[in-house]
């Protein structure tokens, strides 16, 4: 077991790679009641074409299957795992993103038992035709719920406009039609391919004894047999650099229009530390241009073009990356024009301004460490991209004016920009 110390933050992280390839991290947190654990696989909605384990040909699977599998893994021959967790005083959950599926629990008692339940249920799939059919009605209602949600439609509308080929543009839950094609055999195929321990990461944060917990996990894994780890072959989508379409308008049953401007990342091939630096520099640029302390935010707010729903974010994964900026607005066209203008007028950032934004981001990072959920989920996301959550502050500190200018000149290109709007349906 390795110990990694973060002196300034007064935190210690313990790490071990088990024989079967599983990465285990433990971050003891004194003073908290709750222990929070996530068990995550590098498998999300974008992994829809791959060579299934034991086969040789690429295979396309129905959209939404990673999310469907996440739902079904909770069901066992003797009932629902939720029941078991709640008997042990824990609350359990799971989520599927573009690139990850995570299973988690939090509990203030019976931590060892709950951890055992978490690992065991994720490592023992039980799918039947009957339970698969039953789930279709439930997920159909989840999809319908999002269909009526204008913010979700806006978000996916934007991504759809950015990407030509890459499956990031497909809704994580799939469609009512696509999930109807899912069978128990397909679920097993996906499970066998992506749920090998060597493709997964276990993170535990809370008031725990790291030596005992690590030993428990070693023993749990030693009791089970796993096949040898194999490289997973995923389809590599050839994605053009520029956006697929410049503008999309979605009519919905709403009263207030919404507008987002998206910037599609040009180069997502960076790895590790370099990727972290690029991602942070882009976020600093957005903070500088659109943060509440920026002249642009003040101007747009005073003009009545934005309100407190206004937000921005940049995120980058292995094969895709994008920024989004916007919110509710009475005039979506005017807001789009203003946001684009602000982006294109950027030339440089003053040294003082850069320092101010760094300070703000360092404070925000400290605040996020109050949250066990944030630590576990973000640590995992960073680790899957060969980055480290705890390098955020040191990396921020190294950013220079030239770094910010460099990301701006790379990303701010008309061909990389797209606009998506939700507007009230014409009567």
């Amino acid at each position: 077991m390795k110990t990694i110390r973060y002196e300034q933050l007064q935190e210690q992280l313990f790490y071990e790679k088990l024989e079967n390839g599983l990465d285990v991290y433990i971050l003891p947190k004194k003073g908290f009641n709750k222990t929070y654990a996530t068990f995550t696989t590098r498998y999300g909605s974008v992994d829809n074409r791959f060579v299934p384990f034991g086969q040789t040909e690429m295979k396309q699977v129905p959209d939404g299957i990673a999310h469907f599998l996440e739902h079904k893994l909770f069901e066992k021959e003797d009932g629902d795992v939720f029941q078991q967790f709640s008997k042990q005083g824990a609350s359990a959950n799971a989520f599927t993103s573009f690139t990850r599926t995570a299973y988690l629990f939090s509990s203030t008692t019976n931590v060892e038992k709950n951890l055992e339940t978490l690992i065991d249920f994720v490592q023992s799939p039980y799918f039947t035709e009957q339970t698969v059919e039953k789930e279709k009605g439930i997920i159909a209602q989840e999809i319908r719920m999002y269909d009526d949600n204008p913010d979700w439609r806006l978000y996916f509308g934007l991504i759809e406009s950015m990407y030509h080929e890459h499956p990031v543009k497909i809704d994580i839950a799939g469609t009512v039609e696509s999930i109807s094609e899912i069978t128990k055999d397909l679920l097993y195929e996906c499970y066998e391919t992506f749920y090998h321990p060597s493709n997964m990461l276990l993170f535990i944060v809370g008031p725990v004894d790291h030596v005992k917990i690590m030993e428990q996990i070693r023993q749990n894994q030693a009791r089970k047999t796993f096949r040898a780890a194999e490289n997973i072959q995923r389809w590599h989508y050839e994605e053009p650099t520029e956006v697929a379409e410049a503008k999309k308008v979605i009519e919905m049953n709403v009263q207030t229009p919404k507008c987002l401007v998206g910037i599609k990342a040009k180069n997502v091939s960076r790895l590790g530390q370099e990727k972290l630096k690029h991602e942070l520099a882009m976020n600093v640029l957005l903070d500088y241009l659109f943060g509440k302390s920026s002249p642009h935010y003040e101007r747009l707010y005073q003009q009545g073009l934005i309100d407190e729903t206004f937000a921005y974010d940049y995120t980058e994964e292995k094969e895709f990356g994008f920024a989004l900026i916007g919110g509710d607005t009475p005039d979506p066209d005017q807001l789009a024009t203003e946001l684009k203008q602000t982006l294109f007028q950027f030339t440089t950032i003053h040294e003082n301004e850069l320092e101010r934004i760094k300070k703000k981001k360092i404070g925000a990072f400290l605040r996020s460490l109050n949250s066990p959920e944030y630590i576990a989920n973000q640590f995992t996301r960073y680790a899957f991209n060969e980055m480290s959550l705890f390098e955020v502050v040191p990396t921020l500190e190294t950013l220079t004016v030239a770094d910010i200018e460099a990301v701006a000149s790379e990303c701010l290109d008309e061909k990389q920009l797209t606009v998506c709007q939700v507007v009230p349906k014409a009567r």
Partner: protein, 425 residues
């Protein structure tokens, strides 16, 4: 467990909660007044005007730059309703300098800033700045309108409006759209001066802080005149008449079913803990009857849950369903309610629910926000329930008490937001 020390400093109640588990310190200020139609829109506007500018930081850009300089201190305001009270909250969260390379003290700066926001707002001619008030009126109108766009929130709001028609609880915390335009800078400022004198005010400081030092700082900075406290008039609540059924049609793909009940049990009552356990078995969790029967067994919904409002005695069931399944879903929900009244639940369900509630309570006090929430119930209610009493109280609930509570719960209103006639057919 958490330790809370309460000090009365003239009209202000100061709550000090020392803890070493966070990397930041949190300050929360709350102003509470009875919900009234004539005040609610003013109160909805007030904190947003106050957080826009101060005498020293007269523009949003200047105020927000100052927060950035304080290592990204955050300033948030929000509104909530607890029973028939309207509560305005200001929240500042600031880094603990011991985790920073340069160690200038930050907490005192945050308290000074809160003082400035409350007592030195940007004024012109003895009132708030007209420009800021007009700006925030526009934002408020947009916010009220946007509730319509979020169908889940809209359905919640509509149920409450229908069920509590004519009662203060029907009011939404964001006020009334048609009242926004009648507000001007002068009237708002006059209201604010009154609220500062009359509202119940509570200040929380949570973090790795020295109690005596913070107390001295607060005494030096804040001076709220003593106040008589604004207890609600009792006995004005309507009793239930006939069950109302409201069907509203819009262009939606999923129907939103919201059912309202009167629990006739509140935080002040002896059987409050029994109500919590009752709700846990009925619909509060993923092992509850609603989740199991509406979602897992009948595959009708993705979510099916119930929620209790502690001070109003209001219970709401929420589920998103296919429009054609309305009757089926209502029938299943009614059956679960009946099962609870008949005591048709196992001892294991009781034990399981108690374990989950206990866990939820302990998790709640892992966040500064959660600690304030737990403590503030005791500000609102007459009855005081310290945290350790919660744990014991839940544990002591018996099967009999749960059935007794079940029998008090009355169905009041069924609200269904559904598709327009003839759609998707």
């Amino acid at each position: 467990m958490f330790q809370e020390q309460i000090e009365q400093i003239q009209g202000l109640r100061l709550h000090l909660i020392p803890t070493e588990k966070y990397k930041t310190n949190t300050i929360v200020f709350k102003m509470k007044a009875p919900l009234r139609k004539e005040d609610v829109t003013l109160r909805a506007l007030l904190p947003y005007v106050l957080q826009s500018a101060t005498k020293t930081h007269p523009t949003m850009m200047q105020l927000r730059s100052y927060l950035d300089d304080l290592y990204g201190a955050t300033l948030h305001v929000d509104l909530m309703k607890k029973g028939e009270y309207h509560i305005i909250t200001f929240r500042i969260d600031i880094a603990n300098e011991k985790f920073l390379k340069d160690a200038a003290p930050l907490l005192s700066k945050a308290l000074e800033l809160l003082h400035e926001i409350l007592f030195s707002p940007l004024l012109e001619n003895g009132a708030f700045s007209t420009k800021i008030v007009e700006q925030e009126k526009r934002v408020l109108k947009q916010k009220i309108q946007s509730i319509f766009d979020d169908k889940m929130r809209y359905a919640n709001l509509r149920l409450v409006q229908e069920m509590y028609k004519g009662e203060p609880y029907a009011l939404d915390v964001h006020g009334e759209l048609q009242d926004v335009d009648q507000i001007d800078a002068k009237r708002l400022y006059a209201y604010y001066e009154r609220a500062l004198k009359e509202d119940d005010v509570d200040l929380y400081v949570i973090g790795d802080v020295d109690i005596a030092e913070v107390k001295t700082m607060v005494e030096r900075l804040f001076s709220f005149s003593p106040r008589k406290g604004n207890a609600l008039n009792d006995g004005i609540r309507k009793t239930k008449a006939e069950v109302k059924e409201i069907i509203e049609r819009q262009d939606v793909k999923q129907g939103k079913l919201n059912i309202g009940y009167r629990t006739n049990v509140t935080y002040n009552d002896d059987d409050y803990y029994a109500l919590q356990v009752w709700n846990g078995i009925f619909g509060g969790f993923s092992h509850s009857k609603l989740f199991i029967n509406v979602r897992e067994k009948a595959s009708l919904a993705y979510y099916a849950a119930s929620r209790v409002e502690s001070h109003q005695g209001f219970l709401m069931v929420m589920s998103g369903i296919e429009p054609k399944n309305y009757e089926k879903a209502v029938k299943i929900i009614n059956e679960q309610m009946e099962a609870m009244k008949k005591g048709d639940f196992t001892d294991e369900e009781i034990t399981q629910t108690k374990a989950v509630i206990r866990n939820q309570l302990l998790e709640t006090i892992d966040t500064p926000r959660g600690m304030v929430e737990v403590s503030y119930h005791n500000v609102i209610a007459q009855r005081k329930r310290p945290f350790h009493e919660w744990l014991q109280g839940i544990d002591a609930v018996t099967r009999d008490q749960i059935v007794q509570v079940a029998k008090k719960i009355e169905l009041d209103t069924i609200y269904f937001l559904t598709e327009k006639d003839g759609e998707n057919q």
